[in-house]
Amino acid sequence: MAYSEKVIDHYQNPKNVGTLDKSSKNVGTGLVGAPECGDVMRLQIEVDDATGMITDAKFKTFGCGSAIASSSLATEWLKGKSVDEALKIDNMDIVEELNLPPVKIHCSVLAEDAIKAAINDYRTKNGMEAIKFEESVVH
């Protein structure tokens, strides 16, 4: 199976690989997937308390090229968005942007899940209620 150029580019030059201090109150961490399934994504956001804007985002991913590209792209999109805007990122946007084939859609779902998990982690840390999301269907 051939990868799209965008996937290859993210794989070769991933954006925002790294780790934020998960004990910090401003940092939300989402860890999704499982080693048994062949992909694990950790996505972190740093939020400015005063403005509610995401000032930084980092990821680390164990997985195929599409999983790495999906999480790299997600961090790019997250930076500069408000938390509310970030919640609107849909996995199909990632599929479209990266030209993911059907068998790799689950990588984009995982990235969306990671964003939501990171936001909920940030919310619960800061005394807000976690948002209940509908179960993802494409797992």
Partner: protein, 405 residues
């Protein structure tokens, strides 16, 4: 000069040896006859060529030419052996013993036989990929007609103790079939010394053409028969109808002859390269060889690089190096290699594996390039891997509750 891409997937198929191609060429246009045409020179030429090839093939495995049944490949030979014995020996019993690490051509055929009313025992393998001979013997019952154990595994290269398995089969009056696809032409295989009753093998794994293989069927001590699975003109002593693929068979014969002549020198050279590759890659932290290192094909290595996913790893260099991975990261199949899982490997290690298959045309420059490319990619991906970070922090990954996925 190093030419890219490098081919290290010789367990999937081998490039054809130019000498094989040369031998085949006249049989496409010039000598196009049907080997079954008995009444004219076109047929005679074709028949003569097939007879000669049959001798070349038989010689490689120490068989009599009459014991070689040409097929379209190893999958067909596997089907013919298993279904053919099941049907032919129905009055004796309906039980077959095989192992969980067999090729799908064997496993799926066994599943089919189960649907037809047969009974199949699937032996587990030990962590080194070998079956337990005591378990094998214990699995034999009065209705057992066949033991089907592959000579060498396609994913990990583990070589089964065929002579010992044969001794158990003989003692109990059970036939032994072996899928010799990966072994024949690579290591010495002798149907008499090894006590094999039926064996499937194919040309394209030994530098011959695709689309031609053979089933060895023993004619003496004991005389083995299989029920044909293809009805028609009664070719191949009635066991496999269908006009013979003359150019393919000629190429198969030539490939066998070359393997016979060059096996020793090839093995010596290739195993040195394989060992170099393995030694260098094992210098990476948390890298493990899968399957027995002692009982193994000389050209195969299967290595897991912990905390890096196989498909992601391949992407780092697969434009330049052709390899295969035990990981299948698609929504259709999230299951990693069943062979690696059968060794008792966790899914995470199975997802992290690469299979190296060296061959006659592999050289040291290619191996050096491969070592460098893979080492660099593993290090790069580990920097990107959350699992590697946790491992380095001393977190036991098995204690983490992973989100259902």
């Amino acid at each position: 000069m190093l030419k890219l891409p490098i081919y290290l997937d010789n367990n999937a198929t081998t490039p054809m040896d130019p000498r094989v191609f040369e031998a085949m060429t006249p049989y496409f246009m010039e000598h196009f006859g049907n080997a079954a045409s008995r009444n004219h020179p076109f047929g005679w030429e074709a028949e003569e060529a097939v007879d000669y090839a049959r001798e070349q093939v038989a010689k490689l495995i120490g068989a009599d030419p009459k014991e070689i049944i040409f097929t379209s490949g190893a999958t067909e030979a596997d089907n013919l052996a298993l279904k053919g014995v099941y049907e032919m020996y129905a009055s004796k019993g309906n039980h077959i013993i095989t192992a969980t690490t067999e090729h799908k051509a064997v496993l799926d055929t066994c599943k089919h036989i189960e649907k037809m009313g047969g009974e199949v025992t699937y032996l587990q393998v030990k962590p080194d990929g070998l079956i337990d001979l005591k378990e094998l013997e214990a699995a034999i019952k009065p209705t057992t007609i066949l033991i089907s154990i592959m000579y060498a595994n396609n994913e990990i290269g583990t070589v089964m103790p065929i002579p010992e398995i044969s001794a158990i089969a003989r003692k109990n009056g059970v036939l032994l079939f072996t899928d010799g696809t990966q072994a024949v032409g690579k290591i010495p295989v002798d149907v008499n010394k090894d006590g094999i009753d039926l064996m499937a093998f194919t040309a394209h794994k030994m530098y011959g053409p695709k689309g031609v293989g053979a089933l060895y069927v023993r004619r003496k001590n004991p005389r083995v028969k299989v029920t044909a699975q293809m009805d028609g003109g009664g070719h191949e002593r009635g066991m496999r109808s269908g006009t013979l693929n003359v150019p393919g068979i000629v190429g198969f014969g030539k490939a066998c002859e070359l393997c016979m002549l060059e096996m020793e020198a090839d093995t010596k050279r290739i195993s040195i390269l394989r060992d170099k590759l393995e030694t260098e890659l094992l210098k990476l932290e948390e890298a493990y060889v899968n399957g027995s290192r002692e009982h193994r094909l000389p050209h195969v290595a299967n290595i897991s690089f912990k905390h890096v996913e196989g498909e992601g790893l391949l992407m780092g260099f697969n434009k330049n190096i052709a390899l295969s991975s035990g990981s299948a990261c698609t929504s259709a199949s999230l299951e990693p290699s069943y062979v690696l899982k059968a060794l008792g490997l966790g899914d995470d290690l199975a997802h992290s594996s690469l299979r190296f298959g060296l061959g006659r045309f592999t050289n040291e420059e290619q191996i050096d390039y491969t070592i460098k490319a893979i080492s660099e990619t593993v290090l790069k991906l580990r920097e990107m891997s959350p699992l590697w970070e946790m491992y380095k922090e001393g977190i036991d990954l098995s204690t983490i509750e992973w989100a259902a996925h």
